[in-house]
Amino acid sequence: MPKNNGRQFKTVVIGVSTGGVSALKLLLGALPADYPLPILIVAHITPDADDGLAVLLNTLCAIRVKEADEGEPIKPGTVYLAPANYHLLLERGGTLALSIDPPVNFARPSVDVLFESAAEVYGPALIGIILTGAGSDGSTGLLKIHQQGGLTIVQNPADAEMGAMPSSALQLLKADHVTELHEIPGLLLRLAPRKP
């Protein structure tokens, strides 16, 4: 059993790049429609992409998946994907914000931007996950989550379609869980608060 030391987690953030579509299908597809935490995702997509990925995942998964809207309050049982060409951030009070600030790590949306802003809002109540991908986006963000007392999960680089992004994160910090993709949904279910 994972130790959450009585912590009540409030939100999950996920960063993924190359190999993201199939990884997200597997991970989100294994979660129930009433998964009790909001899930915020930055997946690297081309700047001119439409909301196709959110629409696709929403069709394939029980849990609701949508593109993040600016000013939207986050809700349990919902997955929010960063829109193409915008950074996704979290405001205090749990609403979503978008920005067109310059790319970070050559990426917009950038995983670091989401992770850092979410860590500032939720501190120890945040779960951060780095999945398959090229490059190093998300590493400093995951470190920030770790420093703020949040829980960190990294896909085992050997299990990832592209191991660079998970490896890069593991070079910066000792993650709480280094695990294979198919084990992450079970882990997330065990970490989620129990229903009253």
Binding site: L98, S99, G123
Partner: protein, 277 residues
């Protein structure tokens, strides 16, 4: 108080000071992006905390200018979101062509890329001599850059691709002259653009516009400031005028929504209704 709460407090105090000393009002800017930009500025400033920086910022205009740049400068592209400019060309310009003269307000024009894009589009659609673009921004330094119309040559490849996808009718290279590492836009494009300083948070509206373009500016504002700005736009738009927002901004659930209708699905182009008799 946690360190993050202290930082939030410091931001609040600094923004109040900046407003009282310099008149720039960032008190209603969304916190997440503001915090990120200020943290970035701070790490480049060599100062340890915003409280330490505040003492100097409120006394030293030159230092404040660097902060202003850090908070307000937005980067853009020519024909950013080509699909938007294509929709503008195909669905809005035919209406504009029926007017004797077209007035456009481009609010938050930053370094001018999109204002020039608009000028190119209107010239190609036969509106030469029949339009004026008022391009405004809060940051005067960035306006000077916009006025020059000089961009890094390396950007031209991306701008050209955008231009083509946006339905451009000519060759994009006709619109600039390459010199060393830079591309200088043709002076002809500037003839119909007036660049001016305008602060959406405190300044008044502009008269009788036929089209207002304000894309990805209000995403940095909190709700009350958004409503204020939309109110400014509503007061400035002639009946039948067009309001263009960013792809992730919408008029849903706004005070002015009832007076507008969306004319495209994904592109956030709205038309102000004619008042019922």
């Amino acid at each position: 108080m946690t360190n993050d709460e202290l930082i939030d407090l410091e931001i609040k105090l600094l923004m109040e000071g900046v407003y009282q000393v310099y008149g720039y009002d960032f008190r209603d800017y969304s916190e997440a992006s503001l915090r990120r930009r200020l943290t970035q500025w701070l790490s480049g400033s060599g100062l340890a905390t915003l409280s330490l920086a505040q003492s100097q910022l409120l006394r030293d205009r030159a230092l404040f200018n660097t902060l202003l740049r850090g908070i307000t400068v937005n980067v853009s592209d020519m024909f950013r979101d080509p699909a938007f400019f294509k929709a503008l060309r195909e669905q809005v310009v035919p209406h504009l062509q029926t007017y004797p003269f077209v007035k456009i307000w481009h609010a938050g024009c930053a370094s001018g890329e999109e204002a020039y894009s608009m000028a190119i589009l209107l010239l190609e659609e036969g509106l030469k001599g029949r339009f004026r673009i008022y391009a405004t921004d809060i940051n005067e330094e960035v306006l000077r850059k916009a006025q020059e119309g000089i961009y890094p040559l390396q950007e031209m490849q991306r701008f050209t691709r955008n231009y083509q996808q946006a339905g451009g009718r000519c060759s994009f290279s006709d619109y600039y002259t390459a010199r060393y590492d830079h591309a200088i836009l043709n002076a002809q494009l500037r003839e119909n653009i007036v660049f001016a300083a305008h602060n959406l948070a405190v300044d008044a509206d502009f008269g009788e516009m036929n089209l207002i373009l304000c894309r990805n500016v209000m995403i940095y504002f909190k709700q009350p400031l958004k409503e204020r700005v939309l109110g400014l736009f509503d007061n400035s738009l002639a009946p039948g005028g067009f309001l263009c927002l960013g792809t992730k901004e919408s008029l849903d659930n706004r005070e002015i929504s009832g007076r507008y209708e969306a004319i495209t699905q994904r592109m956030q182009i709205y038309r102000k209704k004619y008042a019922k008799k």
